[in-house]
């Protein structure tokens, strides 16, 4: 599995993402600068990491979402290639039009940095095969704008088409109420594109790949993606 990790000014999670990808796949990913027009030949997966691209100016992810390289990422996704955006990467994918909706300011206006449980809504996608359906995983969240919002029709479609990837929950897997850290609609922590080959999520699975630093519940995402064989 050949992975490319995008780099925009202001991102800071690319090192963690690259470590997680290499641990799971055995291959070093390529770092791709935002001004490039093309992805490396044979790229199977594009990862858009977290951070604060362009200082979150205008709106989180707004400027990065319109960078040169995003045309190549859109073409890659249209070919069936995998794309995953984590945290600011999720915001960038929404702003670029690869995923619907928008990440708004957290309900309580605070930047939230803590451990958080999630439910894995389905385990039959290229991102979640190494998990089981309904599994509760513990990962980290660190965001000020993670409150997922979309119009009613979009939410209905996401729910109806099984495109909610992860939901915020408590340690027992109970969704709703205080388990929702940021006011996100329907407790949504991550969503898929129509063809299930693009995933955006606010939590940071790339930080939970080593027992030394709090757990390994994030490994499943990277192990699942490592199994991906490009159709092209």
């Amino acid at each position: 599995m050949k992975a490319a990790v995008l780099l925009f000014p202001g991102l800071n999670r690319e090192g963690d993402a690259m470590r997680a990808l290499e641990q799971a796949s055995g291959h070093k990913p390529t770092l791709v600068w935002h001004a490039e027009h093309e992805l490396p030949a044979g790229t199977d997966l594009v990862l858009v990491p977290g951070g604060f691209s362009y200082g979150d100016y205008l709106r989180c992810g707004a400027i990065a979402g319109r960078a040169n390289i995003m045309d190549a990422v859109r073409a890659h996704a249209a070919r069936g290639g995998l794309v995953v955006g984590i945290c600011n990467g999720f915001q960038i994918l929404c702003e670029s039009g690869l995923l619907p909706g928008v990440l708004m300011r957290n309900r309580d206006l605070r930047f939230i940095c803590k451990m958080q449980h999630l439910t894995v809504e389905r385990a039959d996608t290229s991102f979640t095969k190494a998990y089981s359906k309904g599994q509760v995983i513990k990962v980290a969240i660190a965001h000020g704008e993670g409150n997922y919002e979309a119009d009613e029709e979009t939410i209905r479609r996401l729910e109806g088409e099984g495109r909610v990837a992860f939901r915020y929950c408590d340690e027992k897997g109970r969704v709703g109420g205080a388990a929702n850290p940021n006011g996100s609609t329907n407790d949504i922590a991550g969503i898929y594109s129509e063809k299930l080959n693009v995933l955006g999520m606010m939590p940071h699975p790339e930080n939970l790949i080593d027992p030394l630093v709090g757990g390994i519940d994030g490994r499943g995402l990277f192990e699942s993606m490592a199994l991906f064989k490009s159709a092209a």
Binding site: L58, R59, A62, I63, R66, E95, P100, G101, V102, M104, R105, N106, R107, D108, L109, N147, E149, A150, D151, G183
Partner: protein, 79 residues
């Protein structure tokens, strides 16, 4: 030519920043404030004397970048 683009949240979109400001105004004893919605203002200089051309360019700017049409509206004024 000088222009101003104002971007505001669509009705019904939760605006926690506006709510916090509203609460702060109340705490400052500013009377009669019933609602605050926060938006953004862009003052733009555009190199044309043709009003229609300027409006078209600013519409493109707003829809391509300045506003997120999922949750925001925009208004263009030529000053």
């Amino acid at each position: 030519m000088k222009a101003r683009v104002t971007v505001t949240l669509k009705n019904g979109v939760l605006d926690p920043q506006g709510k916090a400001i509203e609460g702060a105004l109340r705490a400052l004893d500013v009377e009669g404030v019933t609602s605050v919605r926060q938006g953004k203002v862009f003052d733009i200089e555009i190199d044309t004397v043709d009003r229609a051309q300027a409006e078209a360019a600013l519409k493109a700017a707003s829809e391509k970048l300045l506003a997120n049409m999922v949750v925001e509206n925009y208004r263009v004024e030529i000053l």
